[in-house]
């Protein structure tokens, strides 16, 4: 491929990007958290999944789409600053990919869970970090919310990422143990 972007990568980036936009527009998965920076969301999850399934470039592209939409969307005013809404979102899919690649030989599920956590905290840390740097939040406030916020989103992300990726990749053939 001339440019390193195969048809597959183009399409997956676009479609998962569409999901990110949809999750944002419909506010699906927005869990109200009593902090002023916004609700806990799963809008970053498509970037994580894209990074896991198709690699860091796709993850970065989806992260960018997420960022641009976050910039354009109704929400906390600090997101109207592109350095807060767009820039920190680009590495989400990249770090998720790296975490997944590092761990998948050991245990696929572990790799997915860690990847979801890493991707989520990339988002949280970079966004809050930029917010402090740009003066929207004091370090005290940022420090107070990074853990509860990040953990909430990480739990959501991990559950969704495992459910989706294991379903799509038919990770197992054979049997599990149903509740009934």
């Amino acid at each position: 491929m001339q440019s390193g972007l195969s048809v597959r990568k183009i399409v997956i980036s676009g479609v998962l990007g569409a999901i990110a936009i949809l999750l944002g527009a419909t506010r699906l998965g927005f869990i109200p958290v009593p902090f002023i920076v916004g609700d806990a969301t799963i809008m970053h999850v498509p970037a994580i999944i894209g990074g896991i399934l198709e690699g860091p470039i796709v993850g970065a592209i989806i992260g960018t789409i997420f960022g641009v939409f976050s910039f354009l969307q109704v929400g906390a005013p600090m997101f109207k600053d592109p350095l807060i809404s767009i820039l920190p979102r680009i590495p989400i899919g990249v770090t998720a990919f790296l975490a997944y690649a590092a761990l998948k030989k050991r245990n696929e599920y572990l790799a997915l869970i860690v990847s979801a956590i890493v991707g989520t905290f990339t988002n949280t840390l970079l966004v809050l970090g930029m917010a402090v740097l740009r003066g929207y939040l004091t370090p005290a406030v940022a420090g107070a919310i990074v853990l509860p916020f990040g953990s909430a989103e990480a739990v959501l992300a991990a559950i969704i990422v495992v459910a989706v990726v294991s379903a799509w990749k038919h990770l197992e053939s054979g049997h599990g143990k149903s509740r009934i």
Partner: protein, 285 residues
């Protein structure tokens, strides 16, 4: 009562057919103007500038004959959150003084509550900014088809191709994303209805029941992703079957050309934006 019409909320990405002046402008011109206005919006902290920008945005929307109510309807779901946010900014952010030419006067101080003219300004400006950007961004997508948008983005990015940026491919990603949002929204609606029919509760649940909320979400999200993946595979196959090979040497059936109105509009906005940016600290109010 439940609302399954997710499509209702997707107001930013939806093209609304029309024949206004704005509809007929070159998409590149529209995007350049959006960019200029966004820059002006981002750096302007004064009341005057923001009111000017808001009025200009509203005028553009009216010129395009797009319904203001429709665009503002996208705000409804977020309204309670925004009100809460505004209240917090008003009460606690007294020291985040942003006005260029005004004094920060304390209006009411008590414990950690610190209402000042600065915090009032912060709240008002934040709201105005967000309205401006909402109107302008919606305007762009409501008056420009996804094909035009992708052409426009690609032509604008083309100069960057010399340093290796795959302009055509990226604009295709954008096209696909925009095109799929309404499709997936409809699919989401179907899945939501199917699960509701089985007794799934799709709303409610507080912030503390995280795992439960995630499980409830999974009922919608997993089928959504699976459907997206299936459609992706079909699209990939279709593109490969047509020997799609990427952007090199691709030409288009209809090439974009600027006309007089585009130049005039760009020029006018350029002047406005530059004036607002350069003089941003000179506004008295």
């Amino acid at each position: 009562m439940e609302d399954f019409e997710y499509l209702r909320h997707v107001t930013i990405g939806q093209y609304l057919p029309g024949s206004s002046l704005v509809h007929r402008m070159d998409p590149r011109a529209k995007m350049i103007i959006l960019f200029l206005m966004a820059a002006a919006v981002t750096v302007n902290m004064s009341y005057t500038a923001n009111i000017i920008l808001l009025v200009v945005s509203v005028v553009y929307v009216l010129a395009a004959r797009v319904s203001l109510r429709y665009i503002l309807g996208g705000v409804k779901p977020v309204l309670p959150f925004m009100i809460l946010l505004a209240a917090m900014q008003l009460l606690f952010y007294g020291n985040q003084f942003i006005g260029p030419n005004l004094q920060n006067v304390v209006l009411w101080k008590w414990w950690i509550v610190n209402v000042t003219t600065g915090s009032v300004q912060l709240v008002v400006i934040s709201i105005l900014r967000f309205l401006q950007l909402l109107l302008l961004a919606s305007l762009l997508t409501n008056t420009t088809t996804t094909t035009e948008l992708s052409h426009g983005v690609e032509r604008l990015l083309r100069p960057l191709a010399r340093i290796g940026v795959p302009a055509h491919e990226l604009s295709l990603v954008a096209t696909i994303a925009l095109r799929f949002v309404p499709i997936l929204a409809e699919q989401l609606e179907t899945v939501a209805k199917a699960q509701a029919s089985r007794g799934a509760e799709l709303a409610g649940g507080g912030p503390l029941h995280l795992v439960q909320s995630a499980r409830r979400l999974a009922v919608l999200i997993v089928p959504l992703f699976m459907d997206a993946f299936r459609r992706s595979e079909d699209l990939i196959l279709a593109m490969e079957a047509r020997c799609y090979l990427g952007g090199k040497n691709r030409t288009h059936l209809i090439e974009l050309r600027y006309n007089g109105i585009d130049y005039a509009a760009i020029a006018a906005n350029l002047v406005l934006a530059v004036w607002l940016i350069v003089y941003r600290n000179r506004f008295p109010f």
